[in-house]
Point group: C2
Chain length 355, copies 2
DNA sequence: CATGATTGTTAAAACGATTTTCTGCACTTG
DNA sequence: CAAGTGCAGAAAATCGTTTTAACAATCATG
């Protein structure tokens, strides 16, 4: 009943042999018609195409991949899809890959190196032609014995500069530095930087940019970095603690999406307001930044460009070009909005009020 | 150079024959050791495992899949990964699938039926064992001639009740109704519903719930539904237009994530505030709802449960159980926060002010 | 007109696993 | 002791393509 209209014998999908038989040609001819690798006479070509249409034949890519030694599949491993940054990254890569007839196998490492390694192994078994990884940690050993064990692989966001890999990241150092300088130029002297974790190179870069900006302003000793972990509540707690201190910072620079969310919640929980009580600068932009009541100033990572570059580099290697290992650092943009203001007035106002 | 340590001949990965040869057994024996389908004597088993370790052998899943007629891959097609709802859905499904050793091929339809159909065809060619689709439209014909052409497939979020498919959705009707009743109970009489599109069943359900709530309150003629499209700016524009009217609504019920963002931006653009000038109720919850200055009241879809149910149903079919077609409607939860308040005071206040 | 090049076609050999079938051996059992 | 019963191992078939190699037929060329 359920397969009316499809004249399949035995209910199984038609194979190239079925098509060949119906069109009275050899399987190889069907293949040649469909792939166009070798010329086929007009009348036979027509017969084949008719048979294909009649049977509803669809080539089994598994078999084709096995024979061709190419799957046109790339594996993507990211730490967390619920992070909009990674969602946007994957979205764009998928889009670009599809344009070139590549599909993606998506896996999450959940910020865990063991899961990451395991997922990469799975992808290797699946014969993916290439890999795009946003590593959970900055060492290769986490997911492979060495670069030589992997198909063409590009690393995004983290693991910048790892030997043997094309790597791409936002210019975290410069972005953090400029962000911090922006705050300094407004007159802030007590700027706390909130990060999720200190073990990652991209975050380390942000910390470095922040510190250098302070140093260059002669305020090296004022640097204060707070670690909040990978959860909103963790960040919120850490920030609340900072905000409760007597020498409360006049500005918060949240160096990650999660941290920004935590910061906003912390500020609100203590019944404070930005930019009146504290200025707030976010690393990672989103639609919400211009939806919140005072617009949130933010450093925007060039997600689209990172995705585009990742795909470009990977495709280059997939098509065999033996190019040098690439290290691409893409510039971020600073969007000054309303959440960053000079501290003085607010500070004075606050001092007169609650503890 | 690059393959030091790996004694592969010719630089190509070792096959089961290589392992068999090194262990002096037949390929079948290696397979039996690795899959455990048939018993193998202890000493041989040890020899095989040693050979596997020495060569760094990793079975080629392509070949295995071809022979087994099972890929342990499921295809997921969603309209838009940058929508946090879908990102969360995919994230959870991936997690669950991985636990059962299934991988996912992810594709975006970009809310376009043509792309959707094309992607589904690709997935069919790839021999995915199952499909999870959040259809761009509510008709099957959009992505397949009929359900019979597809492997086990479950539809999520949209296309509820389509013949031949397991379908899952949030109880959109009930949720919208309850949301609207909440607003009514606060005293609102001019409630505008903002939707992205009217052509989708899930949205139609929300509209119906909204209308019925109004009807039951004897306010059928006060229903006002605004269509904003799939972009934030589209929704914002549509809402701004509503807010500029003389008989401006006292409450906005944004029936989608995008619409909520648009609503907040629109309210802000006109220099209004919620809940003072208009109450705001959002369909779709997110961390941001409790980060915004007045917390945003929201109807939360049970994303995790939808993902879990989708996977449960699919897996059931994958393991052969021939069960009846399931239609699962999962309850939403209403989170009353600060953005919904009685209208009277605000209304009066506003009337005295600007036009 | 014989020879060589070209063209289109197909049979057969891959691709790398799993599964089926067959074989030889040890062990029961009547 | 002959016949039946497991059992473990290996050879061979299989999955559905693509590619190689062999082959015929057509056409040009000296």
């Amino acid at each position: 009943m359920s397969e009316a209209g499809r004249p399949w014998r035995g209910g199984r999908p038609p194979t190239i042999r079925d098509v060949a038989q119906l069109a009275s040609v050899a399987p190889a001819t069907v293949s040649n018609v469909l792939t166009g690798r070798r010329p086929v006479a007009e009348d036979r070509k027509r017969r084949v195409l008719e048979a294909v249409a009649e049977l509803g034949y669809r080539p089994n890519q598994l078999a084709a991949s096995l024979r061709r030694q190419e799957t046109r599949t790339i594996g993507i491993v990211i730490p967390d899809l619920t992070n909009p940054f990674f969602a946007a990254l994957v979205h764009r890569i998928e889009e670009l890959a599809a344009e070139s007839d590549y599909q993606i196998l998506l896996m999450s490492s959940n910020e865990d190196t063991e899961q990451e390694a395991q997922r990469v192994q799975v992808l290797l078994g699946r014969q993916t032609d290439g890999l795009i990884i946003a590593p959970a940690r900055d060492s290769v050993s986490a997911f492979a014995a060495s670069a030589a064990d992997l198909p063409p692989t590009v690393l995004v966001d983290r693991g910048f500069g790892l030997a043997g890999f094309d790597t791409i990241c936002a210019d975290n150092y410069d972005a953090a530095k400029r962000g911090c300088q922006h705050l300094l130029s407004l007159g802030h002297r007590d700027i706390v930087l909130v990060v999720s974790d200190t073990g990652l190179a991209n975050i380390a870069d942000r910390i470095a940019g922040y510190r250098d900006a302070l140093s260059e302003a002669g305020l090296a000793n004022r640097a204060r970095v707070v670690v909040g972990g990978f959860t909103v509540d963790g960040c919120r707690g850490a920030i609340e603690q900072e905000l409760r201190r007597a020498d409360r910072p006049t500005a918060i620079f949240s160096a990650a999406y999660i941290a920004t969310l935590g910061a906003i919640k912390a500020i609100r929980a203590l019944d404070l307001a930005f930019p009146d009580d504290v200025s707030l600068l976010s690393f990672d932009d989103s639609d919400w930044m211009t939806a919140l009541r005072p617009y949130v100033s933010a450093v925007a990572q060039p997600v689209e460009e990172m995705a585009a570059e990742a795909w470009r580099l990977l495709k280059q290697r997939l098509t065999g070009a033996s190019v040098d290992v690439a290290r691409v650092r893409l510039p971020c943009s600073l969007h000054v909005r309303e959440s960053t203001r000079p501290p003085s007035a607010a500070r004075a106002k606050r001092r007169a009020g609650s503890p």
